[in-house]
């Protein structure tokens, strides 16, 4: 591959991200990151969380344009500016390529009717997103473009650029807008509780995990209206610049209403350069210009070795992008496994000096951070102050403590002066603490003897106009850190060996794909299936909406699993015991071949889901009433009663989106469209009516919904408070039928349909084994009873319990393609664990002093990781910590009445010493005396 690296005009290895250059740069231009609402400088950091967190210079630079200025060169204390840089060409040889170019928001400027760019108070949802954000153009204030006032009445118009067949817009559903709009409504109400928010929408597509509850929460906020109507922007008031929206409701007909601000919920377009990317990489695009995917492996392009993740697969949200990213990673791992670890180097540290007999000897290094700290805080004065503090034997200043030479200086001085504690007064420990711990370790003392005092984010950056006070505050912060440093203890991180095998619980599509991907990277996999055969729920599915032959795929997948030498399948299996912890689990499985004790390093829960057995609509009483899955099977068999039916009715949301199950089963709408289209193919004369609440054919599935509608499948909406009624009866011609009665809101009357067959979109519900499995593996469940991931976006395929992962319908209902994405995603995460020989457990964990423990159990109930237990001893019950499971949050510590349990590195003593050092006697006494004097 040939890469061209654009000049940054900044030397990456020298820039520390101090932003002094940004401050002095005179060239202001519209900030692209903030949707060009506010201004930025020619030299700047793209956004606050950018990685690497260093500046770059763009084309608006005065020097680059007109050969003048060069102020930044003068102010940079680290000589990191290099205005002579030119584009650099680099050739690299790689084994695989991952394409993740994302998406492009739909541009409403292309359609006059949206008046975007014309009316000052019409914004896109991307603009609005920035307005809401505290790092946004107005520091988190929502202001109108026309008069910089807070809008009170805000309207959102959904499906801008999506679900429309007009030229220039997309026929598909963008899949994410309904929910992001709800988020924006909630945030708007957070900003301004009195705000009136109105959402003009088509179907509400809350199909994701916990989305239905989120929708409900939004809808129930005071001052929030959801109006099901097409809406158009008609005019702008010339004086107030308010925007009038025209819409219509069944009750009130066409109406016009003025809003202070209108937000266009824009959809997702493919990346602008998708065609270019396709050409360069020799891959094919789909008709919408997203990547053309392998239907049974959506992370694969048509060209071997080139993979895809994220929204280039099509419109998907963040968790799914993360599944596919991790999944594509796993596939590349399969391809390149033979080279794993080739580039890794092992660090060797000097042996650790025992300082337990020594008095604290503290060294303080105060960082200028270029001009960042030094310009505000008087660093030399601070250094002198440090020398007066108890136990401090050495103090010095540094220009950039994090620069390689400075870090080496810290190491050298620590050795030379025999320091046994090091305080670094610089920036936030969040970014650089690992580096400084390493520095201290290089000097032969325990890494937990490193303490950071944050005098940048907590001081110079926020007190730039109060230099003297900032210097005093720096002294206070350092004094506190020094006090704490005196009490620091050497802690050992310990390496736990990792057993290289994985256990996969559940042999459906998720479990099999996950097992294969792990096994293909050289790890043994134990695949446990409760039934006699592999396949799970998919055994009853015959095709996908897109037309894939599911049974052929399943057959092939099962053959691959049985044929893999590293996969051991246990049929008819139950798990009787699961113990151990990350890297070292022991699970007892009873199966047709007997009882086996399996040792493994990782566990994956893929137990799938069950189908709700309806109690409504005569199900189980009348043989003409069946579930969707039954219907699919009977269509596949060409059952004459089905394919020759004159009239068929489908009812949606049976057993979910109600009080008992407050979630959407996600797949049923598309499933019924699929069945309807198959039936229309076989018997075009059949009358098919679908009674739905919201059609949730999100993403590209929208096109099939449109196709069904074009093929005369009737879609009639019902409301939950007026559900359809079903009774056995006779048609006018005397044919025995099911009489289905439903309200028709469009026609404003009751509708009676004669149905020969009634298919129910029965809910997907958590597997009956969920609670049992959750208890065995000590993992948690979401409010709807599905397994709960550690974090929806940051850790979507793993549990809070380390070493345990999840994917498939056990997590939430989803389509096969999504399941495959997620199954590979889980495999990718499993590999990041199993590819290591050891896992490192932190030294900062809880510790119990048994003589102080009264066995009250407050700590045990505070721990969400199951790291604590009460154990019987001769002295009564005592708490016991399993340090491997402890995550160091310290809740146990603050619950303990006797101080028996202490979080190491954050002990009561360490933290109280900081509090005690915060205010000195000299400062407090006069104040208290003054108080006394007044009384």
């Amino acid at each position: 591959m040939t890469l061209i690296k654009k000049p940054r005009y900044i030397l990456e290895e020298k820039c520390t991200g101090c932003t002094t250059c940004v401050e002095y740069c005179p060239a202001k231009y519209p900030d692209e990151y903030n949707q060009e609402i506010s201004k930025n400088k020619a030299v700047h950091i793209y956004f606050a969380q950018a990685i690497p967190l260093i500046a770059y210079i763009d084309e608006s630079c005065l020097y680059l344009k007109e050969n003048k200025c060069r102020i930044c060169e003068g102010v940079c204390k680290n000589n990191a500016i290099d205005l002579k840089q030119t584009p650099k060409k680099r050739e690299i040889t790689v084994g695989a390529i991952l394409l993740a170019p994302g998406f492009e928001p739909f541009d409403p400027k292309t359609k006059e009717e949206y008046h975007y760019g014309e009316f000052a108070n019409v914004v896109t949802s991307m603009d609005y997103e920035r307005l809401l954000c505290s790092t946004g153009p107005y520091s988190g204030e929502i202001l109108r473009g026309s008069d910089m006032k807070h809008p009170h009445k805000v309207a959102w118009i959904q499906c801008v650029g999506s679900r429309r067949v007009t030229p220039g817009e997309n026929s598909y559903c963008s899949a994410v807008c309904c929910t992001y709009t709800q988020k924006q409504v909630i945030l708007t109400k957070d900003h301004h509780a009195e705000a009136e928010c109105t959402v003009f929408h088509n179907d509400i597509r809350s199909y994701g995990k916990d989305f239905e509850r989120y929708y409900e929460r939004t809808e129930q906020l005071p001052g929030v209206r959801f109006i099901r109507s097409y809406a158009s922007i008609v005019r702008e008031d010339p004086n107030t610049k308010n925007v009038t929206v025209r819409y219509s409701t069944f009750d009130e007909g066409v109406k016009e209403e003025a809003f202070d601000m209108v937000v266009l919920s824009v959809g997702l377009n493919p990346p602008v350069d998708a065609k270019d990317v396709a050409e360069k990489f020799g891959i094919q695009l789909d008709p919408n210009n997203f990547c053309k995917l392998n239907p049974v492996n959506p992370m694969e392009s048509n060209r071997p070795g080139i993979y895809v993740s994220g929204a280039f697969q099509g419109p998907i949200d963040i968790p799914e992008s993360v599944f596919s990213a991790s999944g594509a990673g796993s596939q590349i791992g399969q391809l390149l496994d033979y080279r794993r670890g080739n580039l890794a180097e092992e660090r060797v540290y000097p042996s650790e000096r025992d300082v337990s007999k020594e008095e604290p000897r503290i060294g303080v290094f105060v960082c200028h951070c270029g001009a960042n700290i030094g310009r505000i805080v008087n660093v030399p004065e601070t250094v002198e102050y440090c020398k007066t503090l108890p136990s401090v034997v050495y103090a010095q200043e540094q220009l950039f403590s994090c620069a390689t030479n400075s870090a080496r200086e810290i190491t050298d001085v620590t050795k030379e002066k025999g320091l046994n504690r090091v305080v670094i007064a610089a920036c936030s420990p969040r970014t650089l603490e690992p580096l400084f711990r390493d520095t201290v370790r290089e000097a032969g003392i325990n890494q937990y003897f490193c303490e950071m005092a944050n005098i940048r984010e907590h001081d110079s950056w926020v007190h730039s106009k109060e230099k003297e006070e900032a210097t005093e505050k720096a002294k206070d912060i350092i004094r506190m850190s020094v006090a704490r440093a005196c009490h620091l203890e050497p802690l050992q991180e310990f390496d736990l060996p990792v057993n290289k095998a994985a256990l996969v619980v559940g042999g459906g599509v998720a479990g099999m794909n996950c097992a294969l991907s792990i096994a293909n990277q050289g790890h043994e996999v134990h695949l446990v299936e409760k039934a006699k055969e592999l396949g799970g729920m998919v055994r009853r599915v015959y095709s996908t909406l897109e037309g894939l032959d599911v049974q052929a795929y399943l057959h092939d997948l099962i053959a691959k699993v049985y044929g893999h030498p590293l996969i051991h399948v246990y049929h008819d299996a139950t798990i009787t015991e699961a113990t151990g912890y990350v890297g070292n689990f022991v699970t007892v499985v009873k199966s047709e071949t007997g009882v086996a004790e399996i040792k493994h390093g990782a566990s994956v829960i893929t137990i799938g889901a069950d189908l709700y057995t309806p109690t409504e609509y005569l199900y189980g009483q009348d043989e003409r009433v069946m579930t969707h899955l039954d219907l699919e099977g009977r269509i596949a068999e060409r059952d004459e009663k089905i394919v020759n039916a004159k009239s068929l009715v489908m009812i949606h949301c049976v057993g979910c989106r109600n009080e008992d199950r407050n979630y959407c089963s996600r797949i049923c709408c598309s499933q019924s469209v699929k069945n309807a289209l198959r039936l229309k193919e076989i018997n075009p004369q059949m009358d098919i009516t679908i009674l739905f609440r919201d059609m949730r054919t999100y993403g590209f599935k929208e096109d099939f919904y449109r196709e069904a509608s074009n093929k005369d499948v009737k879609f009639i909406r019902y409301e939950p408070q007026e559900p359809p009624q079903v009774e056995a009866g006779e048609s006018d011609e005397g044919r025995p039928v099911l009489k289905v009665t439903a309200p028709d809101y469009v026609m404003g009357k009751k509708l009676v349909i004669d149905a020969d067959i009634l298919a129910l979109a029965a809910a997907v519900i958590p597997s009956a084994a969920t609670n049992e499995v959750a208890a065995l593996f000590k993992v948690t469940l979401s409010p709807d009873g599905f397994f709960k991931e550690a974090h929806v976006k940051l850790r979507p395929v793993e549990f809070g319990t380390e070493g345990v992962y999840l994917c498939g319908l056990a997590h939430y209902p989803k389509f096969m393609q999504e399941t495959i994405n997620q199954a590979y995603g889980a495999a990718g995460r499993v590999l990041t664990l199993l590819s290591h020989d050891t896992v490192v457990a932190s030294g900062s964990v809880a510790q119990v002093n048994e003589s102080r423990c009264i066995g009250c159990g407050a700590c045990v109930s505070a721990c969400t990781y199951g790291a604590l237990d009460l154990r019987d001893t001769k002295q009564g019950k005592k708490a016991m910590v399993n340090p491997v499971l402890c995550k160091g949050d310290g809740l146990c510590n603050s619950k303990c009445p006797t101080g028996a349990i202490q979080l190491k590195h954050y002990t009561d003593q360490e933290l109280l010493s900081e509090i005690d050092a915060m205010a000195t006697e000299e400062e407090i006494l006069p104040e208290m005396d003054a108080a006394v004097g007044d009384v």
């Binding site: 606050a48 969380q49 954000c133 505290s134 790092t135 520091s139 988190g140 926020v462 948690t780 709960k788 550690a790 974090h791 940051l794 809070g800 003589s851 102080r852 423990c853 009264i854 009250c856 407050a858 109930s861 505070a862 969400t864 990781y865 002295q875 009564g876 995550k887 160091g888 949050d889 310290g890 809740l891 510590n893 603050s894 619950k895 303990c896 009445p897 006797t898 028996a900 979080l903 954050y906 009561d908 933290l911 109280l912 509090i915 005690d916 915060m918 205010a919 407090i924 006494l925 104040e927 208290m928 005396d929 003054a930 108080a931 006394v932 007044d934 009384v935």
Partner: protein, 236 residues
């Protein structure tokens, strides 16, 4: 370190050191990046501490918790500025409330000693997850806190019954029981955290540890009278 690690004793220590206001910044509720949700624990601790401050005559507004994400710089800045303004309007600790310095210090010392008792008496409530700000006020009511004080128990070893068996002495988590073999045990009320371990531990046939509520604890018996002379020893 999670905001849930902020101990009630840290807050009281700050006030004891003469700090006029304590501000706790925690993550946004329900947005925990782990499964811990320790910010609820921090909230509960603050609600309890506020009531305790109120009980001892200090303005509860001297303690504040606010929830924000790392990206909410403005919320932090506004929150802190508003809080500083508030605390300034309240005046120095004690002065605003009209409590003199020595009285204030002794009250804070006494209250700090009761932290273990507060934690034990409110174990469940301190771990609850409040759903709406409307529930905050009700978690700990003024009456409830008053009751905590009026119903407070003390433990006392009846010197007539104590057999100096060392059982309670060994089990006391804070080494508040003095005594030894053949030396009648005495509870140092200053160190005692009212956990009741001694009460549970004292062998029922002796029943020497007494729970006292609503009346003063009898003075400990003088040092010189603490030695037990066993009958067997008398015989020999």
């Amino acid at each position: 370190m999670c905001s849930g690690r902020v101990d009630m004793s840290f807050v009281l220590r700050a006030f004891l050191n003469g700090i006029d206001g304590v501000f706790i910044g925690a993550c946004r509720l329900n947005e925990c990046n782990y499964v811990t949700q320790g910010n609820y624990h921090a909230l509960n601790m603050v609600l309890l501490s506020k009531r305790v401050l109120e009980h001892m005559g200090l303005n509860p507004e001297r303690l504040k918790i606010e929830f924000m994400s790392a990206a909410d710089a403005n919320i932090f800045a506004e929150g802190v500025n508003a809080f500083v303004k508030k605390v300034k309007s309240l005046g120095p600790l004690g002065e605003g409330e009209g409590i003199n310095r020595h009285e204030l210090k002794s009250r804070l010392v006494e209250i700090s000693k009761l932290v273990p008792y507060f934690k034990m008496a409110n174990q469940e409530k301190l771990a609850s997850h409040l759903k709406t700000p409307e529930e905050y006020d009700g978690l700990f009511t003024k009456e409830e806190i008053d009751r905590l004080f009026t119903e407070m128990v003390s433990y006392y070893i009846d010197p007539e019954k104590c057999q100096a068996c060392m059982t309670c002495l060994r089990r006391c988590p804070v080494e508040a029981i003095v005594g030894g073999k053949n030396r009648i045990h005495v509870i140092d009320q200053d160190k005692c955290i009212k956990c009741g371990t001694c009460f549970e531990a004292c062998p029922p046939r002796f029943g020497a540890v007494k729970k006292i509520s609503g009346e003063p604890v009898p003075a400990p018996i003088p040092e010189e009278k603490r030695t037990i002379v066993r009958k067997s020893k008398e015989a020999s």
